[in-house]
């Protein structure tokens, strides 16, 4: 063992992992939103937003914006740490496994873990990317400042080739394991035992959809429709429709006639938006949409509308011929491909959903209709119903879990 490469937080390159973990375990847990953690994260966010070259990394700018001071103070209000007989504390050492192909994704959960009072060791991908290098540099600069002093021994970033022995040592030392990645990564990690008192949070592959009430769409005037299309664009075309919360299915709710007109209006408005915003659309992306269309057609799962046959383009739309299934979700390639289905009532969508579904972006439903759907859902299906345009917005409640709460623990005290 010991092919561990320390990227941050351990000065000596040859330090043994055992010693590093021992030191991290010795650091005390803090209470959530401890001033020392808040000040550090605030400063990090400032530095990130003003760092030279941040323009090349809009997703890191978004990260910096999310962790800005004002937002942190607002958050802290929501999580009182001393309430009656309960004292809230971090769990201790948290081990974070970052996904291999996204640079900023794990930063949200990891920084929240720091804010929740934990000591953190983060395994990042072996493939260093420009964004990762950039992030680590800004982190290192922040740690070197005075505000970094108190947290210096609470953050270690490292990387190593896939190695069950190393993952095992980390898992045995930590009180909390946070896994971001595909289903395969989650399965592999699950097989490696955790310390008996530890807990685990996983963020596996998910599928997201959108539901639109046809009459409500028809009631929109042109500017309002253009705005809706623009918000839908943000949900679906940022990150090439490949984020877990990007909508890949559009469910139309209403009468047949209403849906016919509403669909035509909506997709035409989206076309205008696409012309205006010119999203990335490489040749490979086009071919991947076309190939997925053949897979859907071959399995008899979905087909183009009418009798014109394949209409390649961005977006490419197919109508589901059968209810949404695991096979339908597995074939989806992102890149601007939309599956459509029609329903008379929103609540009927419930039976087609499963624990794979994460976000349902909606337009035109009453709260009562949304609630009826939520109450009819199968176990664990849909973690979040959001207005169209907010599918990608990060929230402290993610995949159905309040991250600050699950990253911390509650200690009971007598009330006298």
């Amino acid at each position: 063992m010991n092919s561990v490469n320390y990227l941050l937080g351990v000065a000596e390159a040859s330090a043994s992992l055992t010693n590093v973990l021992q030191a991290l375990r010795a650091a005390p847990a803090w209470q959530p939103f401890d001033t020392r953690a808040v000040e550090f994260v605030k400063r990090f966010s400032q530095k990130l937003l003003t760092a030279a070259g941040i323009r090349q990394h809009p997703e890191l700018a978004a990260l910096g914006h999310w962790f800005r001071g004002a937002n942190l103070h607002q958050l802290a209000q929501k999580y009182p740490t001393d309430i009656g007989d309960v004292l809230v504390l971090g769990r201790g050492l948290a081990f974070h496994v970052a996904p291999s192909n996204v640079d900023s994704v794990f930063m949200y959960s990891w920084l929240l873990s720091l804010l929740a009072g934990n000591v953190n060791v983060v395994r990042v991908s072996q493939k260093a990317s420009a964004a990762q290098t950039f992030l680590i540099a800004v982190l290192a600069q922040t740690l070197a400042e005075e505000v970094g002093m108190p947290v210096r021994d609470r953050i270690v970033l490292l990387t190593y080739p896939h190695d069950d022995a190393i993952t095992g040592a980390l898992s045995d030392a930590c009180q909390l394991r946070v896994v971001w990645g595909g289903d395969a990564t989650v399965r592999t990690l699950r097989a490696i035992p955790l310390r008996p008192t530890a807990t685990e949070i996983c963020f596996p592959d998910r599928f997201s959809a959108c539901a639109i009430e046809a009459e409500a769409l028809l009631a929109l005037d042109e500017p309002a429709l253009a705005q809706l299309a623009s918000r839908f664009y943000n949900d679906a075309f940022w990150f090439a429709q490949q984020a877990c919360s990007s909508p890949r299915l559009v469910a139309w709710v209403g009468s047949h006639e209403c849906i016919d007109t509403a669909r035509t209006r909506f997709w035409r408005a989206l076309e205008h938006e696409l012309e205006r915003r010119q999203p990335e659309n490489s040749e490979a992306m086009s071919i991947s949409r076309v190939a997925a269309s053949f897979e859907y057609a071959g399995a008899g799962l979905a087909r183009p509308d009418g009798a014109v046959g394949l209409m390649p383009g961005q977006p490419l739309r197919l109508t589901l011929e059968r209810p949404l299934s695991e096979a339908v979700k597995a074939l989806h390639c992102g890149n601007g491909l939309f599956l459509e289905l029609r329903l008379p009532e929103l609540v009927e969508l419930a039976t087609q959903l499963s624990d794979k579904e994460q976000t349902l972006a909606v337009h035109g439903f009453t709260r009562a209709q949304l609630q009826a759907l939520a109450l009819a859902l199968p176990a664990r299906a849909v973690d979040r119903i959001a207005p169209i345009g907010e599918a990608l917005s990060f929230a402290t409640v993610w995949d159905g879990q309040d991250l600050i709460s699950v990253f911390s623990r509650k200690l009971l005290l007598p009330t006298y």
């Binding site: 071959g298 087909r303 009798a307 046959g309 390639c333 990060f394």
Partner: protein, 376 residues
């Protein structure tokens, strides 16, 4: 791929009425558009119908995506499949017991490979077509032949990857084969020199995969400092793609010049072919253009709209072939990029369309779970 046994006009007893190759097979470059286009379109339509009746996923795709179905009025209307489907689906138009060989693409480690199912008749049609193309270059006689590869590639005879299939297929056009590379794909100079002493004045045929020829023969000979001369009139046929050579910035012209200079090989012909459409390969002429034989053709399509493009406009290559009976591979959209240069008008005199291949489409980037990113 091709049979190694002697060719025979095998007809099984209850032979189904399979779509025939309509033009004289012995004249791969003898038919101009007015004769070739209607004949090929006829066979392609018959093949579409054939596979619709025998391969359910194919029938599903055609029914949903191609309204013209088996009644295409032009070659551009003939339904096509993206070539990558053979990596994810089992596409077969014969019952499993009739499959005599399964070809796989040589894909890089970890990547999915194409699986191509051949029955006896398809395999024989491949051989007949390839033999006619080869005869147009080599004549009827069999040449002494150097295989620029290691004999080890052929060890597993049940599942042929593209390289093994290519070697076996082409080796039938030569005799007294010399496999000139060792199992580490380095030149066995001694073995090759000894073999060459037998053919001081007889032209020899060389065959190999493009990057294997470059690394295993050319670069290996330079490294070892061996002087090799092939007899005058010797001829190299190579294929399999330029990706690795383009990475090293070696062009087709440079490839030819270096092989001529170093080994005296005057005639170097590249061919464009793929494991998904074995047999009807597109052979390069003296003017550097790839030529469609009578029983195959290409179309170039815009990668975004998939509309057919004209002469001079680069796009994605679609290949069509009159051969395939055991799998729906008679019309395939590749991920290669090429340009059509004309029809029946190459200065080399061959009839048919002629084109060049310039590379591959870049692969799509998988970004996956980026869900904590928010909008700036």
């Amino acid at each position: 791929m091709m049979h190694t046994e002697p060719l025979s006009e095998h007809i099984s007893e209850a032979a189904p009425a399979w779509p025939v190759l309509q033009l004289d097979i012995a004249q791969p470059y003898g038919f101009r558009a007015d004769a070739k286009d209607p004949a090929l379109l006829n066979t392609l339509n018959a093949l579409t119908r054939w596979h619709q009746q025998r391969c359910a996923p194919y029938a599903n795709m055609v029914e949903r995506l191609f309204p013209a179905g088996a009644q295409a009025a032009t070659r551009a209307e003939v339904p096509y499949l993206p070539v990558r489907l053979f990596k994810t689906l089992e596409l077969r138009s014969v019952p499993e017991p009739e499959v005599i060989k399964t070809l796989t693409s040589s894909g890089t480690t970890g990547q999915a490979v194409s699986r191509i199912y051949l029955d006896r008749e398809t395999s024989m049609r491949q051989t007949r077509v390839l033999s006619a193309i080869m005869a147009s270059i080599l004549g009827k006689k069999r040449w002494p032949m150097v295989i620029v590869d290691s004999a080890d590639v052929l060890k597993d005879r049940r599942r042929f990857n593209a390289r093994a299939a290519g070697i076996l297929g082409f080796s039938t056009y030569g005799r007294d084969h010399c496999y000139c590379l060792n199992d580490a794909l380095e030149l066995d100079a001694h073995a090759l020199q000894t073999w060459l002493t037998r053919y001081a004045a007889t032209p020899v045929l060389l065959f190999g995969f493009t990057f294997v020829v470059w690394q295993g023969l050319y670069q290996s000979a330079l490294r070892q400092g061996v002087q090799l001369r092939f007899p005058p009139g010797s001829l190299l046929i190579h294929g399999g793609g330029w990706k690795r050579l383009l990475d090293q910035r070696v062009s087709n012209d440079e490839f030819k010049a270096r092989l001529h200079q170093e080994f005296g090989i005057e005639r170097v012909y590249n061919y464009y072919g793929m494991v998904e459409q074995v047999g009807s390969i597109f052979m390069e002429c003296e003017h550097g253009h790839l030529h469609s034989p009578s029983y195959a053709d290409v179309l170039i399509r815009d990668p975004h709209t998939l509309q057919p493009l004209g002469v001079g406009q680069p796009g994605v290559i679609q290949v069509q072939s009159a051969i395939q009976l055991s799998y729906p591979g008679h019309s395939l959209l590749t991920e290669d990029v090429g340009t059509l240069h004309g029809q029946d008008d190459c200065p080399c005199g061959r009839a048919g369309s002629h084109f060049t291949v310039s590379g591959r489409l870049p692969q799509v980037e998988i970004r996956g779970c980026s869900d904590t990113r928010v909008m700036a």
